[in-house]
């Protein structure tokens, strides 16, 4: 997702201003001139300056164009013009959404069912068939559980489907 430099610059400047303001509100250390407020204020001001610089285009001359990829026959295909993936934008948000799904449901459903949903959904989103998604959902979660829960002793929640080990 490409956002214009003007917008990212303004966003960063606002974030910097908020950080500097938030920092200035922090209580000082009694008897000291400097405390926890100094660093966020310095960074905040720096971010405001950088944000403004990005918005007005300072430094954009350094940016290199995207690599041009040569095809097998020697012809050049500019990056981003290959055959598009259907629903690419929607698929891009799948991994973070699945991680959130894991964080909020693993305690209720247990590790194995949650992990199975995660791997199957990712596999499917990447163009895998139902069969490969199913095979992966059946094999990967128990294997990961064995390594992390049994060997590394990470307390993975058993939930609906506790493992025998």
């Amino acid at each position: 997702m490409q956002i214009s430099n003007r917008l990212t610059g303004i966003g960063l400047a606002v974030l910097g201003a908020a950080a500097a303001y938030g920092g200035s509100l922090l209580p000082p250390v009694p008897g000291q001139q400097v405390g926890p407020n100094v660093f966020p204020m310095v960074i905040g001001i720096g971010l405001v300056l950088c944000g403004i610089a990005i918005a007005i285009g300072v430094g954009s001359s350094f940016e290199e164009p995207e690599q041009v990829v040569a095809a097998e026959d020697g012809s050049h295909v500019p990056a981003g013009q290959e055959a598009p993936v259907p629903h690419a934008a929607l698929k891009t948000v799948v991994p973070p959404l699945l991680l959130l799904f894991y964080a909020f449901t693993v305690d209720h459903l247990g590790f194995i069912p949650t992990a199975a949903v995660m791997v199957a959904a990712t596999c499917f989103a990447l163009g895998g068939t139902w069969r490969s998604a199913l095979i992966l959902a059946l094999c990967a979660p128990p294997a990961v559980h064995l390594v992390f829960a049994k060997l590394l002793r990470v307390p993975l929640p058993p939930g609906l489907l506790p493992m025998p080990w």
């Binding site: 997702m1 490409q2 990212t8 960063l12 974030l15 910097g16 950080a19 938030g22 920092g23 209580p27 000082p28 001139q33 400097v34 405390g35 926890p36 660093f39 966020p40 960074i43 720096g46 971010l47 950088c50 610089a53 990005i54 300072v58 430094g59 954009s60 350094f62 940016e63 290959e82 993936v85 690419a88 934008a89 698929k91 891009t92 948000v93 799948v94 991994p95 973070p96 959404l97 699945l98 991680l99 894991y102 964080a103 992990a115 995660m118 791997v119 959904a121 990712t122 596999c123 499917f124 989103a125 990447l126 895998g128 990967a140 979660p141 590394l152 002793r153 990470v154 307390p155 993975l156």
Partner: protein, 499 residues
């Protein structure tokens, strides 16, 4: 001598040897898979290191990263897709050799000169680190502050993007490091009332998010890479000794450039490879042969990226300033295992340091036989479909980050940083600068505030000591440089000159 023997005993412990072997295989496999970088391989390994002895933990990081950097060359040679960003610089050259019917020679060069580069990098670490440690003992907080700041600025200069965006990314990282109660007064800062944020943003989940989740997100929007056809390889190492004798200058230059770039904070193996490849072409007697399957650039850049890997440990061990993103992760592991970076590490934990050198050497030596096996198996491993690997990576991101603190909030952190890393990369903000900001934030602040308290709020003492004055001048120069270039280009004659 007794410390040296002690170091060997540490390395030869069965758990360490098993850790080296397994992490070597892991590094070779992960590095060879396109899209899975050496940094990602290392980040995913951290939860496992929790459960290992200190030396075994460090051994896994060193071996896996070295192997991953080499094996990133394999898909580059065979498929024209670099396995890791560090191989991208010379992928075209290696692939051209494969097209000429010399895949063995190309892969052999990558393997042989990677191993040699790694050995030279390790020698530089062995020689440089103790010398610099002695020098660093006289440093005060002022020097440490400038050094850390300079490290951050270096990361912004070497980034292949706009320096202003790189500085912004670095500041964002520093701001993220401000979250929590780990500040000079122990006041909750930017926690917004959340108890999960009191401890600050954990570095490892942030790294896993930026490098692994963002990569899976990217994979979602690009088509599956082409399949590799089955092929049989001849002798991998045949002709390498001849090339070693034929191109000694290129090799030496690659090693030295790699070592220098590795020592620079923030600049890692990928930068070393790009610079060395460009240098090889610039100084070559036959630059027209570059890009047509000529070994010269391959030798120089292949040696350079592995040499940078070892020398990247110099600033990490001495000052806690990461030489690249891999050592940024390694520093976390060093702290966790009680090997806190600093010049005193060389006096107090001398045997551990020797053990580290030995592991580096061993890692680069076993790279040759294991690399040959990996090359022979590559046609099978590279047939693995992306939709079978990436789902496991997503699962490992969740479980691995949870394991770092047994807290589900860390999984949310990974997801958030995945989005941040993806958006940053898409918009030309270097993720490495953000990561270095997060890793070094508390250190920079601590030295900054301690120095300010010592100087009673005055900024003059920051420039009073000779070493700190030099470091300050370089740092400020790097900061003003993009603005100066911009102003120069704004001038009418400057614009004319630019055209």
């Amino acid at each position: 001598m007794s410390t040296f023997i002690e170091a060997w005993q540490m390395v030869l412990a069965p758990d360490v040897l098993i850790a080296i072997l397994l992490s070597a295989i892991y590094g070779l496999v992960v590095g060879s898979l396109p899209g899975l970088s050496a940094t990602m391989a290392t980040a995913l390994l951290v939860p496992v290191t929790f459960y290992l002895s200190p030396i075994a933990a460090i051994a896994t990081i060193i071996t896996a990263s070295a192997m991953a950097i080499f094996s990133g060359d394999i898909p580059g040679c065979l498929l024209r897709i670099p396995g890791t960003p560090a191989s991208a610089a010379y992928t075209d050259e290696a692939y051209a050799m494969t097209r000429k019917g010399q895949p063995e020679l190309a892969l052999g060069i990558c393997l042989w000169f990677s191993a040699l580069g790694g050995v030279f990098g390790t020698l530089s670490l062995i020689i440089m680190a103790p010398l610099l440690a002695e020098f660093a003992l006289s440093f005060s907080t002022f020097e440490y502050f400038w050094l850390a700041f300079l490290g951050l600025m270096c990361a912004t200069v070497v980034a292949r993007s706009s320096p202003v965006k790189a500085i912004a990314a670095m500041l964002l990282g520093l701001l993220i490091a401000c979250v929590g109660i780990e500040n000079p007064a122990g006041t909750p800062r930017f926690t917004f009332g959340s108890t999960d944020l009191l401890g600050g943003i954990e570095v490892i989940p942030a790294l896993v998010g930026c490098f692994a989740v963002a990569e899976v997100m990217r994979a979602m929007s690009v088509p599956e890479p082409p399949q590799l056809e089955r092929r049989k390889f001849g002798s991998i190492l045949a002709g390498q000794w001849k090339l070693t004798k034929e191109y000694p200058k290129q090799q030496a230059r690659g090693n030295i450039v790699g070592i220098i770039i590795g020592v620079l904070p923030g600049a890692g193996a990928d930068m070393a490879a790009w610079v060395s490849y460009a240098m090889a072409k610039r100084f070559s007697k036959t630059p027209e042969k570059f890009g047509t399957g000529h070994p010269e650039g391959l030798i120089e850049a292949g040696a350079s990226n592995n040499a940078s890997l070892a020398s990247g440990w110099v600033p990490s061990l001495l000052f806690g300033i990461p030489g690249d993103t891999i050592t940024a992760i390694a520093i976390g592991v060093l702290y966790m295992k009680g090997l806190n970076p600093g010049p005193t590490l060389f006096t107090e934990k001398a045997s551990s340091m020797y053990a580290l050198y030995i592991i580096f050497m061993l890692g680069n030596i076993i790279m040759i036989p294991l690399g040959i096996i990996m090359i022979r198996l590559a046609t099978f491993i590279l047939r693995a479909k992306r939709y079978m690997i990436m789902p496991v990576i997503v699962l490992l991101c969740a479980v691995g980050s949870f394991a770092t603190g047994n807290n589900l909030f860390l999984v949310i952190t990974v997801a958030a940083f995945g989005v941040v890393g993806y958006l940053m990369e898409k918009n030309g903000f270097p993720v490495a600068a953000l990561v270095l900001g997060i890793v070094m934030g508390s250190m920079v602040e601590q030295h900054f505030i301690t120095s300010l308290i010592k100087s009673d709020g005055s900024l003059l003492p920051f420039f009073a000591r000779p070493v700190s004055a030099v470091l300050a001048a370089i740092t400020i120069g790097l900061m003003v440089w993009p603005l100066a270039v911009w102003l120069y280009k704004k001038r009418p004659q400057g614009r004319a000159a630019a055209i």
